[in-house]
């Protein structure tokens, strides 16, 4: 019996590791089965809602939707990667941004409100880019008002109006609506990316996004 004991121990550890890893994987991905299977693609369902934050032409064959949190470091990295993809794919790619500020990031909600307040003056993407570019500056600050107002000024916003809009109930409601919509689509963390309605399983990697876009383009050609 003792001769077999080491192999029994090794097999038990292997099974336990695979079992626990599989269980955790299933729990973490359970909330988005529809998107993963493509059964109910809740895609670019936009017969263009004017309040959507969109870059790229409406008839682009690929729509990349991102649920982002301006204080999430990975979101900042992914944002840079998306910029590169937009350059690469041009009119073939349409990017839609949704707010998904996480509670664990202390300034995420304030940043989302700042972006939406900038959107009121038609400069969402300018503020979006500023927030990600200088994330490392404001993310650890005690208060962020000074930073956000200086960004507002530098992108040409009416700062007094920006300040008022950041506290406006409808601006907050806009952020909350994105969050609710994201949750209904199974979004749990950021960044979460959908390409033509199908959720990418690894949002981290630029290669994964490019591969998703290529697949979507190939599927579009085939249909």
């Amino acid at each position: 019996m003792k001769r077999f004991l080491p192999f029994v121990i090794i097999a038990a550890v292997a099974l336990l590791t695979v079992g626990i890893a599989t269980a955790v994987y299933r729990v973490k991905t359970r909330s988005a089965p529809a998107a993963a299977s493509g059964a109910t693609p809740a895609p670019a369902e936009a017969p263009e809602d004017p309040s959507l934050h969109v870059r790229g032409p409406r008839n682009a064959p690929v729509t990349l939707e991102i649920y982002g949190d301006f204080q999430c470091p990975s979101c900042a990295l992914v944002s840079q990667a998306i910029d590169e993809l937009e350059k690469k794919y041009g009119d073939k790619l349409r990017v839609v941004f949704f707010e998904f500020p996480l509670e664990m990031h202390k300034h995420a909600m304030e940043a989302a409100l700042a972006a939406e307040a900038a959107a009121v003056q038609g400069k969402f993407w300018e503020m979006h880019d500023m927030l990600y570019r200088y994330q490392h500056v404001w993310a650890e600050a005690t208060t962020v008002n000074f930073f956000f107002e200086s960004y507002a000024e530098s992108i040409g916003l009416d700062v007094a109006r920006f300040r008022a809009d950041r506290n406006a109930p409808d601006v907050r409601a806009r952020v909350m609506a994105d969050g609710t919509k994201g949750e209904s689509r199974g979004v749990k963390n950021t960044p979460t990316i959908f390409i033509n309605g199908t959720q990418l399983r690894t949002s981290f990697s630029p290669e994964e996004m490019q591969s998703g876009i290529e697949k979507a383009l190939a599927a579009g050609k085939g249909s």
């Binding site: 550890v13 890893a21 994987y25 990295l77 963390n189 979460t192 399983r201 690894t202």
Partner: protein, 152 residues
């Protein structure tokens, strides 16, 4: 004194000097395995929340070095730790012939950990605590095997 050790046949394991060392190695490898498995699952689910608000952590786990040929780098770590665990268990039960592979495996992991530390410090300029823990486990494994030679 009669010899009460288990009689050996040709296929039986041979005696190793200090099996306790191998049990220690096995426990350390298990800790590394848990860490690497956690990172692998986090990567596969795209779960950025593992990093909390640690900027460096996300920068490392979201970098181009987080995957090798499309597979999470952490999965290679998990495989390596599992191999070390298996070899250590076999060595602890007297399979002396596996010790050489165990030392070679830990040496390879030691070099890989140095490389990943270099990437974090000088290429990415960011550190991921889970990766540092894994490196610490590998250094501990190497330290144990070097400081406490198992055979005499």
């Amino acid at each position: 004194m009669p010899n009460k050790s288990i009689p050996r046949s040709e296929s039986s394991p041979t005696e190793t000097g200090r099996p306790v060392v191998y049990w220690v190695v096995a426990v350390i490898a298990l800790l590394g395995l848990a860490d690497a498995t956690f990172l692998t699952v986090a990567h596969l689910t795209g779960d950025d929340a593992v990093c909390g608000s640690l900027a460096g952590c996300s920068a490392v786990l979201g970098s181009a070095y987080a995957t090798i040929k499309g597979l999470p780098t952490a999965s290679f770590g998990a495989a390596a730790y599992f191999t070390v665990f298996s070899l250590a268990i076999l060595a602890a039960f007297g399979y002396a012939q596996v010790r050489r592979f165990l030392v070679l495996m830990v040496a390879a992991m030691f070099l890989a950990s140095l490389y990943f530390l270099y990437l974090q410090a000088f290429v990415l300029h960011a550190f991921c605590p889970f990766c540092l823990f894994s490196a610490a486990m590998t250094f501990l494994l190497a330290g144990v095997l070097v400081a406490v030679p198992a055979d005499r």
